[in-house]
């Protein structure tokens, strides 16, 4: 009996097992191939593709892994496999695949070619942590997977060591990260004290009882939110974001801004849905257990996040720093999808994330290709590039317009569904604030276009030619941004099929 249980659990985590094997293979390959490391990126690519195959073959599957057979709630496990988790795992995998392809093109990464094995091994450590974060339904597994991901990313943020700012980025990331994960652990210990368990499903049934001290629970919830809020770079915990995004190698910046945020959001949504929702009614509204007012907290945090993000972005002259503030603002918009507490809001988040993946990675890719050539990320150095390098400029323009959320790009669809969900939940005031924020964001995105096309350059701007592989890579990201902006039916249908969060 116990054995079949174990086999069942292991069969549910095959993607994670494959990732761990790939991680070990990468470390060993780094040892064996110490003369010629050309093979290592391809091993990493194979690892991602294999994991992708195993993840997709899990589509439609759902179940609990690692159940505690001694407990009376033996049907609930530490890991939950469901379509919601598989959606976010696919987001993480697609962005990892693209990041590995970006690393082929990045000058920064080519300069550290002798340590390339460690680079990919650490990226795989991050992906493994994200996978467990996305499917964890046990507070301790949540903490462990967050640390697995964070520890790898602290090192990666300062990995290239080419400039002073690399090490500064990793120190700042480390200090903020360690503090917030410490706070989160203290919150977890309080929840453990209140309920005697760390399993989210059991906590859900226990906090409905009358003997729970609500003040302690609220304190614990805020501490745990501090830990997760740091990962998604939401407002009071966002201070690391601009510094780390500017200082880290650009491939890692792009990875942090998409994959690590996706994992953080998946964790936050699953944590709140499994722990604090008593039931979902047939119309898709989530009914919260009346122990802690998540709604007010998240509304306040999300408005603060997007306003701070958008207004700070106005003054930035460094593209990476500007995109960092823009990614803070996007975290604010995404939190609005959670705050309506309905299936419709969840669909909006899923659509927004698929679109955000394409447009944000695309923007970072173009910034990287320009930086490869002109060696700078300052917006002032972009003057006149629109005339000399039309392909990159046009694609950057499309990504930035999509980030603003204007039609006919996919960014518009993402924002549209988000606002529809807000209006349906009768949260008009919040929707208006979000809309005004979008107007503010238009200024700093369009300012880049002004520099590209209208500002007269002081000296003749360089013509940036793109190699064939770069053109393909940019197009792979750019064409879907336009395609999904016009024909978004498949995206919406896919999001609707990924709603299932197990439990309840």
């Amino acid at each position: 009996m116990a054995n079949t249980n174990l086999y069942h659990s292991l069969s549910l985590i095959t993607p994670e097992i494959f990732l761990s094997v790939a991680l070990v293979v990468l470390v060993l390959a780094d040892l064996v191939l110490h003369k010629d490391k050309k093979l290592i990126p391809y091993i990493a690519l194979l690892g991602i593709i294999g994991t992708g195959y195993l993840t997709i073959s899990q589509f439609g599957m759902s179940g609990f892994a690692f159940q505690n057979s001694a407990s009376m709630f033996s049907s609930y496990g530490m890991i939950t496999v469901d379509s919601f988790g598989i959606f976010f795992k696919s987001i993480v995998l697609i962005s990892s695949l693209l990041i590995i392809l970006f690393s082929f093109q990045s000058e920064e990464i080519q300069k550290i070619n002798d340590r390339i094995g460690e680079y990919y091994a650490l990226i795989f450590g991050m992906i493994l942590g994200m996978f467990f974060m996305i499917s964890a339904t046990d507070l301790i597994l949540i903490y462990l997977s967050m640390e697995l991901m964070s520890l790898s990313s602290y090192v990666l943020a300062g990995f290239t060591k080419l400039r002073d700012r690399n090490s500064e980025a990793s120190l700042k990331y480390l200090l903020y990260g360690a503090v917030s994960s410490g706070l989160m652990l203290f919150g977890i210990s309080l929840v453990y004290g209140l309920t005697g368990t760390t399993n989210l499903y059991i906590i859900n049934s226990l906090i409905q009882g009358p003997q729970i001290n609500l003040f302690t629970l609220a304190f614990a919830c805020i501490l745990i939110f501090a830990g997760i809020g740091y990962k998604i770079s939401s407002a009071p915990f966002h201070f690391w974001t601009p510094d780390v995004y500017e200082g880290a190698p650009i491939t890692i910046t792009a990875f942090l801004s998409v994959a690590s945020k996706a994992a953080g959001f998946a964790l936050l949504i699953r944590f709140i849905k499994t722990t604090f929702v008593s039931y979902v009614d047939p119309n898709g509204w989530w009914h919260l257990i009346n122990v802690f007012d998540w709604k007010t907290l998240i509304i306040a945090v999300s408005i603060l996040t997007m306003t701070l993000g958008n207004f700070s972005a106005l003054w930035q002259n460094n593209m990476k720093r500007m995109l960092a503030y823009s990614s803070i603002a996007h975290a604010g918009y995404l939190l609005l999808g959670l705050v309506v507490f309905s299936n419709q809001g969840l669909i909006a988040i899923l659509i927004y994330f698929s679109v955000y993946l394409l447009m944000n990675l695309g923007a970072f890719l173009v910034v990287m290709l320009i930086a490869n050539r002109i060696g700078s990320e300052d917006i002032d150095d972009y003057n006149g590039l629109g005339i000399t390098s039309p392909f990159l400029s046009v694609s950057l323009a499309i990504f930035l317009i999509s980030l603003t959320g204007l039609p006919p790009t996919a960014g518009f669809i993402g924002k549209l569904y988000l606002f529809i969900a807000l209006v349906d939940a009768k949260m008009i005031a919040v929707a208006v604030i979000a809309l005004l924020n979008t107007v503010v964001s238009l200024y700093y995105y369009i300012r880049v276009l002004k520099h590209l096309y209208l500002v007269k350059p002081v000296k003749e701007p360089v013509a940036i030619t793109t190699s064939f592989s770069n053109t393909v890579l940019v197009s792979v990201l750019m064409l879907p941004v336009i395609f999904f902006g016009i024909y978004f039916e498949p995206l919406v249908n896919f999001a609707k099929s990924c709603l299932l969060i197990l439990g309840l």
Binding site: I140, Y143, L144, E147, L151, Y154, V155, G158, K161, D164, R165, S167, E168, A169, S170, L171, K172, L174, L175, A178, V179, G182, L183, L185, F186, I188, S189, L190, Y192, G193, G196, T197, T198, P242, D243, E246, G247, W315, Q316, N317, N318, R321
Partner: protein, 103 residues
């Protein structure tokens, strides 16, 4: 005769937690900030073990504390490596003097 109970442990852990946060906020040296973080982690550990013992929750709390100790060691290893790297580039480890990225 005073019995040591759950409250005593919780008070100790609350004091440790507050001291940790105080250290993180006030210290300028990165190593001292890291020590503050260790205090926060250990205050959570005391909570886990005390709750497990006095709440009769079984061995779960102790196991969790073991996990946290191991993680804290891993984190300290990485943190000190990063601080060493900072020392090589900036020749000091004061958090408020490392601000090349601020505009």
């Amino acid at each position: 005769m005073l019995q040591v109970g759950l409250t005593h442990f919780l008070v100790v852990s609350a004091i440790l937690f507050s001291l940790g946060i105080y250290g993180i906020v006030t210290r300028k040296n990165a190593v001292m900030v890291l020590m503050g973080i260790e205090l926060v982690l250990n205050s959570a550990n005391i909570n886990f073990v005390a709750f497990a013992k006095y709440g009769n929750y079984g061995l779960g709390g102790q196991i969790i504390a073991l996990f946290v100790i191991i993680l804290a060691a891993a984190e300290a290893a990485i943190a000190l490596a990063i601080v060493l790297n900072i020392y090589k580039t900036f020749a000091n480890v004061n958090v408020d003097e490392i601000d090349k990225l601020k505009e």
